[in-house]
């Protein structure tokens, strides 16, 4: 058996036995569909072989794609968790209704609790309010000196869980116009600001996702373009033998899709590693909120989407690059 020279390409690992087995007509012929599937299987095999033969370059490409996909995915996860946190804080928003002196507070509180946007109501009489103020402040003697209770009766309203911020504001405005209500106060400015930050983070993740998606297209396109240039002589020979551009392009598209697949898997690994590294500080943060918060990672659905996006970007990037480069190659 002749030895392979150092500068020779790695052989197609096909032993004579495998060749015979591969070419057993009884075992392999299944008409036009079978031939097509067989051609695709060969392309997949060739693409895997080329990726494996260029281990270092392929690994670098895959890692770069992985980082590029992991960044927007990480941002999306962060935005999703922030949204979850603000949603839980949203539930602590209350509307305070300050009543006129002649209003029937308990009856009004009962009526309001029947409304669909209201989870529950809590009536605090003027007397209870004054007692609370005296107990929690140093103003006892001053309040006593006034001679009469300056505080109005209050109904504290908890909006229905999950009610959108703008709906909570509309509810407060509507309740403020209710008869017997002197003024309605919604103390949710900070929640609105936080919501705006979350919306910004989500939008930023989307924009960064698009930009980095374009970057993946260029990375895959550039890698495939280089591979085509490296195999220019082979491609010229194939064209001389009558290969169509579609035939020559097919293994390169498979390579692009495989780069996308392996890159997205690398991205998932990076996200997993980042989650592992952040687990302790996040655990401390969650503990600071008495365990009321839970941090969500990438779901199975999210992981599948990331893999799908990676493969689709690989397909599009390699398709464009292969079409453009192959059109420029003609046998001499």
């Amino acid at each position: 058996m002749p030895r392979r020279r150092a500068n020779q390409p790695r052989p197609n690992r096909q032993t004579p036995q495998r060749t015979v087995r591969r070419n057993n007509p009884k075992a392999t012929d299944h008409g036009a569909v079978g031939r097509r599937l067989d051609a695709h299987r060969r392309c997949l095999h060739d693409s895997l072989r080329h990726i494996a033969n260029r281990r270092l370059a392929s690994a670098l490409t895959i890692v770069v794609i992985g980082i590029t996909l992991a960044l927007p995915a990480g941002l999306f996860i962060t935005a999703k968790n922030l949204a979850q946190v603000t949603s839980s804080w949203q539930q602590s928003v209350t509307i305070s209704l300050y009543l006129n002196a002649d209003a029937d507070g308990p009856s009004l509180a009962r009526d309001l609790s029947q409304q669909p946007d209201i989870a529950n109501t809590h009536f605090i009489s003027a007397k209870e309010g004054l007692a609370y103020l005296k107990h929690h402040s140093q103003l006892g003697p001053a309040l006593d000196a006034l001679g009469q209770n300056p505080l109005p009766a209050v109904i504290r309203i908890h909006p229905r869980s999950g009610l959108a911020s703008h709906k909570v504001q509309a509810l407060a405005k509507r309740l403020g116009n209710h008869s017997g209500v002197k003024r309605a106060r919604l103390d949710a400015g900070w929640v609105r600001r936080l919501n705006a930050i979350v919306n910004l983070a989500t939008r930023a993740a989307f924009v960064v996702g698009i930009l980095l998606g374009l970057a993946v297209l260029f990375i895959v396109g550039n890698t495939i373009g280089l591979e085509i240039e490296n195999r220019r002589e082979q491609i010229e020979v194939m064209k001389l033998l009558g290969a169509t551009d579609a035939f020559i392009r097919r293994p390169f598209i498979y390579s692009g899709v495989l780069y996308g697949l392996f890159g997205s898997l690398a991205g998932l690994l990076l996200i997993g590693a980042a989650a592992l590294a952040l687990r302790t500080p996040l655990g401390n943060l969650v503990a600071a909120y008495n365990g009321g918060l839970s941090i969500a990672g990438l779901s199975l659905y999210g992981a599948l989407i990331l893999i799908g996006v990676g493969m689709a970007l690989g397909w599009v990037g390699s398709g464009f690059a292969a079409t453009r480069h192959l059109a420029l190659i003609e046998p001499m």
Binding site: R4, Q14, P25, G34, R35, N53, L240, L241
Partner: protein, 222 residues
Amino acid sequence: MNDIVAFEKVVKRYPGDQTALNNVSLRLARGEMAFVTGHSGAGKSTLIKLIGLLERPTRGRILINGRDLSQVKRRDVASYRQRLGMIFQSYNLLHDRSVYDNVALPLEIRGSARSIIDRNVRGALSTVGLLQYGHRLPGVLSGGEQQRVGIARAVVGRPHLLLADEPTGNLDPELSADIMTLFQQLNRIGTSVLIASHDIALVERLGLRRIRLDHGQLDPQH
């Protein structure tokens, strides 16, 4: 119409007004084997390239199997080449594929069934005496063996016309004679063969028809 190749007043000029072929008219009958000879730069390779649609004529008409090549659109060039067998001086083998896979390539390109690929590849390798080397890489074979692989690849799809551009240019006289014998065998089973060669001694020994080119023009005695 019994000609497989017909050139009618073909002119080929390259940029810089360099005339490679000038008013060339010739015919090759179906089943015939002929040599195109001439010194370097005489236009032999251009003639082969025009038939292989690697170049288009500046003027004139080329008919292959009765088909006017000027009517072959760019998108149809691939399917046209699939029906030709082409052999090159530098063998043009794919060095990361086994000998078997190199020979199988034209049939894979056509989308042939695996049983047909296997039968034809074994047949072609057997014809050139390399059946036992199917699993080897071309790089470990000698120059003569590599050219045999190139010939097997050219004939595996049973082309109606075999074109060879200096097929023995890199081989010693003994191996060259072997390769020419192989071409003659293929010609005897009905394949038309057109070979461009500058090896006059080899061509004269075979005693076959010679088409002589000189500075892009046909030698009147051809």
